[in-house]
Amino acid sequence: MLHNDTIIALATPSGSGAIAVIRLSGKEAISIASSKFKSISGKSLAKQKTHTVHLGHIIDDPRVIDEVLVTVFKNPNSYTGEDVIEISCHGSLYIQQEIIQLFLRNGCRMANAGEFTLRAFLNGKLDLSQAEAVADLIASDSEASHQIAIQQMRGGFSNEIKHLRDELLNFASLIELELDFAEEDVEFANRDEFYKLITRIINVLKRLIDSFAVGNVIKNGIPVAIVGEPNVGKSTLLNALLNEERAIVSEIAGTTRDTIEDEISIGGIGFRFIDTAGIRETEDIVENIGIKKTFEKIEQAQVVIYLFDSTKFKSLSKKFKVELEKIKNKYPQKPLIVLANKIDKIDDSQLAKMQEEIPEIKLLSAKSGFGVEQLTSTLLNLINTGALRNNETIVTNTRHYDALLKAFEEVQKVKYGLDSGLSGDLLAIDIRQALYHFGEITGEITNDDLLGNIFANFCIGK
C-alpha cells in the first residue's frame, strides 16, 4: 500500500561465493524479471505458478549474462507478501553486479536497508511483537550503510556530487525565480547558459555512472604497476590475489611481449595489474629499453607496488633502496606499496633488519597467502580515502549508482525540454526529480532550499 515500486537487492551476504541470490519484490517483480529472463523450456515466467523453479538465462539483449535458476513466489505467499522473484546466479561479484544493474535500468529500485523486512511486516508476514526488532534493524542498518556511504563519499565523489547538486539547485532557483517572481526587476539567466550547465551535468553524470559499470572497470580498471625482478613472485602474488577473491575476471595478454595484464576485482572494484621489469641501472641497450618501458607503465598506473624477494635483501638492499628512491622522486604523488615477498624463507633477525631499513614495508608470503588480505585492504583503502582522486572519481556504491542513473534520466529530460522550448514550470518538474535523486546521495533537499537560495541572491519584492 505504501510502496508500490519494485525493489531489488542481493539476498546472500555480499562478496563472492559459489552462488548468490538476488531478490526482487513488488508489483512488477515478475514482469520485470520475465522481460530479461529466457527459460530453457521456452515458457514465459509470467505464466508460472507460485513456488516454482525455472532454469534459464538472464539476458541483456543480445548478451547472455549468466545461467540462473529463477524461483517465483506469488503474493501473498512470499517473504514480503508481495510478488517475489529470487534469482540464483553464479557467485562472482561481477555477475551479481551486472544482474542487479540490469534490473535497476529496467524499473527496479535499490532496496533500502531493511526494506524487505519492512514490507514483510507491513504485509502482515511478521507478527507485531517483532515490530521493535524490525525498527531497530532499520535504524541500525541505515546508520551502518550511512557510515559506509560517508566513507565512500570522502574525497572526489562527494565533492563532485555536492558541486553538481549546488549547480542544479542554482539552476532550479533561477527557473523558480522566473516563475514566482516574473514581475520582479531581476535578470533571468539565459537559456544558453542553462543549456551549457545541463550539458556539463550530463557529462559528469555519465562519467560517474560509467565509472561504476563493472564492464567498464574491466576495460579501465584501476591500473596498478608491479615493479619487480622476473623471479620475485609476481605471478604467485597475482594467483594469491585471485584466490583471495575467487573472482578472476579476465586475462588479457599485454600489448608487449614482456607485459602481462591481469584484471582482478577486489571488493567490487576492478584492478588492472601491470607486470613490469625492474628498473636497475644498466649499460645494456636492450635492457635500457625495458627500463624505459617500466617507467612508462608506472606513469600510466595509479598505484605502484614495489615487490622484492626478501631472501635477497641481504645482498641487494642497497639496490632496492636506490630503486625505491628513484620511484618516489619521479612520482611523489603516486601511492607506493612496498612489498617484501617470501618472508616465510627468512629468519626473524633478517626480518627485523629489513623493517628497520625500510619502515613502510609490508610483509608478504604470496605462496602461503600471508599478507594478501592486508594488501587488498590497502588497495581498497586507497579508493575509500580518496588517495586516487587525483585522476578519476569512482562510484563504488550500488545505491549511489542507482541514484545517479535516475538523476541522469531526469536531467536528460530537462535537456530535451530545453531543446523543445518547454516552459520553466514543466522543466522544473524534471529538475526537482533530479534534485531529489541527488538528495538521496547527499541528504535531503526541500523547497525551502530553493526559496532560500532565491532570497539570498536576488532582490525580490515590490
Binding site: M1, L2, N4, N112, A113, G114, E115, L118, F121, L122, N123, G124, L128, A131, E132, V134, A135, D136, I138, A139, S140, S142, E176, E178, L179, D180, F181, A182, E183, E184, D185, S420, G421, L422, S423, G424, D425, L426, A428, I429, R432, E444, T446, N447, D448, L450, L451, F455, C459, I460, G461, K462
Partner: protein, 629 residues
Amino acid sequence: MEHLYKMFNEVYDVIVVGAGHAGSEAAAAAANMGSKTLLITMNLQNIAQMSCNPAMGGIAKGQIVREIDALGGYSGIVSDTSAIQFKMLNKSKGPAMWSPRVQSDRMRFAEDWRLMLENTPNLDFYQEMVSGLIIENHKVVGVKTSLGIEVRGKSVVLTNGTFLNGLIHIGDKNFGGGRAGERAATGITEELVQLGFESGRMKTGTPPRVDGRSLDYSKMIVQPGDEVPEKFSYSDITKPLTVQRDCHMTHTSPLVHDLLRDGFERSPMFNGRIQSTGPRYCPSIEDKINRFADKDRHQLFVEPEGWNTVEVYVNGFSTSLPEDVQFKALRSVAGFENVKFFRPGYAIEYDYFPPTQLKHTLETKLVDGLYFAGQINGTTGYEEAASQGFMAGINAALKVQEREEFILKRSEAYIGVLIDDLITKGTEEPYRMFTSRAEYRTLLRQDNADFRLTPKGYELGLASEKRLRRMEEKHSKSEAFVDFFRETSVSPEDINPILESNDSAEVNQSGKLFKIFSRPNISMDDVRKIEAVENYIQDHNLDKEIIEQTEIQVKYSGYIDKEKNNADKLNRLENVKIPSNFDYSKLKSMSIEARQKLEKIRPVTISQASRISGVSPSDVSVLLVHMGR
C-alpha cells in the same frame, strides 16, 4: 424578563473576532452553512480593509482566490466587482503558472464586502474590541469585550491581523496601533500565553500614499491591463471589465538611495529598535538598498487606489524611515518631483502564534473550539488570510453541527499546501504563498480550481447548485473535445503545411490529432486551421473557457499525468493515520530530535510526519512499523 434587555442573550454557533479578509470569509462561510454567526470588529466602517496594496491575486495568490471562489467564498466576486484593472500574469509560461491579478478600488472593495455580508443570512454584527476569551475546561465558550460584555458562543475564530499589541514605527517615533489611525488590541495575547500558547513577534511594512494630482505621469512608463481582461469568479454573477485604469512605473536612482541612506541611523530597522522578522520577499526600500548595494535602481509601481479617488499607492517603497527622509527621497524620483503625501509609510510589529499549535482545521490543539486565521498565524497577504478564514469558518461550523472536518490535501489546493505548511513546518517569517511551495503545482491551476473544489463546496452547502452545473458542463464539454482530438486522425496533406510554418517536423502518414497537438510549438490556433477542428468548435458552440481548458488538457497531459501519479503516491501515505495519543517516547530506535519534533507537531498522518524537518526517511519507516501498517 431581564434577559430580553440583555444585548447578547443567545449562544452563537460561531463568533468571529476581526473583520479583515480572514474574518469576513470566516463569517460568510459559517453563516452560509447555517450557523448562527456573530462578527465582532473594532470598527465596522473598516470591514475587509486593504491595509496594504490595493490589489488582489498575483502569482500563486490568484490561484488561491480562484480556489476560494470555486468553493463558494466571496473574495473572487468582490475582487471582480471592485476591480479597476485585470492582468493574467505569467501568460508566457505553462498553464499552471497563469495567475490572475487585479488592481482594486480600495473603498469599493470594502463597501462591496460589507454589502455582501449584510446580505448573508444568519450573520449578526457588533462593533467593539474583544479583550478576552471565556474558556471552561479547555473549551472556548465565548468572548469578553472591553466594555465588559460577555457573548456566549460554541466556537470562536480569532482573526486579529496586525492588531495584537501592534506597534507602529516611523523613524525614531513609535506608538501603539493596529493600522494607521486605528488602535491596537490588547489583552488577548496575554490571556492566550497564560493558557499555555507560545507567541512571537513579526514585522511588516507599507509604503507612503500620495496625491495623484501632484505626480507627473509623463515621466513614467504606462502599465495597462490586459487587452482582453478575464475575471476571478467562476460564477456568472460578475462580468469582465470593459474599461480599465492604467498603472505606471518609475525607478529609484543612486541619488534617491543616497538620500535614503542618510536616514539609516534613524531607521528602526537598523538601529535595533525593530527586532522581529520581516518577510524576505517583501523588503523595505532601505532593506533593498542595504542588501543589494550594487543595484543602482529599483522599480516603483504607481497604483491608483480606485476609479475616482486621487490617492495613489507607491508600490515598492515600503519604508519605516523618518517621514522627512521618505519625503525628501521620493521627491527625487522621476515623476515625483512635486509629490504631496497623504500619509507616510510605516513598519508595524505585532504578535502572532506559531501555527504549529494548530490542527489542520485551524483549531488550536490547546483550546477546543478556538480557531486562528490570518496574520495571527504568521502569514501575510489578503489571499492567504482570506483562505484561512474561510477554512476556519467552515470547520467551526462543521464542528458545531457535529459534521466531519473539512481538510484540503496538498495535491488538491494551494489552500491545502498553505495550511499544511503552517501547521507542520511553522514559519520564521511572514508566510507568503509561492507556486514553488506546491509540489504538485501542475495540478493546482487557476483554470481548474472549479473542477477541483466546486463539488466539495457544493457538498458543504457553500457553492450553489448553479455553480456546480456550470462546472459540470465545462467539464463534460472539454472532456468531449479532448476525446475528439484523441479519436480524430489528420492526413499529412492537411497537417504538414501547419507543421512547416511552425518549424515542427513533418509527418509521412496520417496520425491522431492529439499527438500533433501535444507538440510544444503547436497551439490551439494552429490546429484550428484544420477544418474538422473549427467545425467541431462551431457545431458544439464552445466558448473560450472550454477551448482553453481543452488545450491545457491535451498539451500538458504528460506532465499532468506524471504529477497525478506522484500525488497518488503521497496520498497513500496520507491514508496512514497516527493515533492522536501516540507515545513517541517509546520509539527508542528513533533519534531524539525526531521524537521531540513529532511530539511537538503531533502529525495526523505518516505523510505529514515525513514533511517535518528533522524527521528522516528511516524515522518514517520506524514510524510505519509502529503503526502496524
